[in-house]
Amino acid sequence: MDYYNIVISEELARNLVLRDNASELFNRIESLKQKHISIDFKGVQSMSRSFAHEYITRKNNSSKCINEINMPIELEKTFDVVSNEPRKKKRFPQLENARILTL
């Protein structure tokens, strides 16, 4: 099977932070001839939720078959959290009764 390999830390950055970067990555992926794409996460130090969310959203809508290799455990957890987002509840209910001061 003809896989096209992308080492994401070299393609983008070691810190996968910006949502737009994930979007640009998939724009590039969609432009490739190959159907099967392998994303190598070796060398990645961190990934933001924003990046992970955009990655998952674009992957789910992609015309390619994408698989990930060398995924650090911390990043797997971030993907899990983003994929299974609970319904939003008020994170800071204590703010409702906070005093309002003029500064």
Partner: protein
Amino acid sequence: MGQRLPELVRNYSKYSSLMDASKQTGSVDLSRITWIYPTTFLPLICEFVRDQSLDMKLPEDQKVRDYISTLIQRRPGQDCCATYLPYSTFPVDKKHFDPIMDHICNLAGEVDKTGNFRYILGELSDNVYQHSKFNFAAATAQKYPSKGFMEFCILDDGITIGGSLRDVGYEYDDTEAIDQALNGLSSKISIERGYGLGESIEYFINEQKGEVFIASGNGGLYMSGNEREPLKFILKEKYCGTLISARIELH
């Protein structure tokens, strides 16, 4: 008589007072400053970038004067800065953002045992790019080993949290807009959006047992992982952008 405001809030207030006084003289008077924290220093830098005609009276205290000169003149990566980071501006071209992350996280060092500080910094940085429409954005940090904390500040000169929400039809004033954003409201349509800011604040106050102050437009908010009550603020002087400051304990 009320409880004294937290120092993080007073640091912001000091910046605000300095700018207010400069309206009369055209000069920011730091002559009597004996100590300056990132939450005072970084928004001042933003003002000087925005208004090149603004003058500064340097501190009379030589140590403080040298410190400020170093912060302004040194660039991240120059020399070995063990306890502070010269302010780092966010490149408009996102491709060049990665080194900035490394510099700030290297300073965090022992604070970031779990790697979560890097994660949170990523979230806050992406918020700047996604929402603010900034011309100038920057971050800085300073460790105070003898005092036992690190103070971190990130800011932009963009459309504010309230402005970002009002752009898509949410009619909240600036103070309430910060509350709403922390609790998940986003200017982006997707229901999966709106987690980054709240999660970041939760990290600072819960995981790190630290403090956070946010100023955006005419709104402000303070929260702490210690005993102190949360506070909301109406800022008499509008902050033209968004500033987020945090203090984290050094262990």
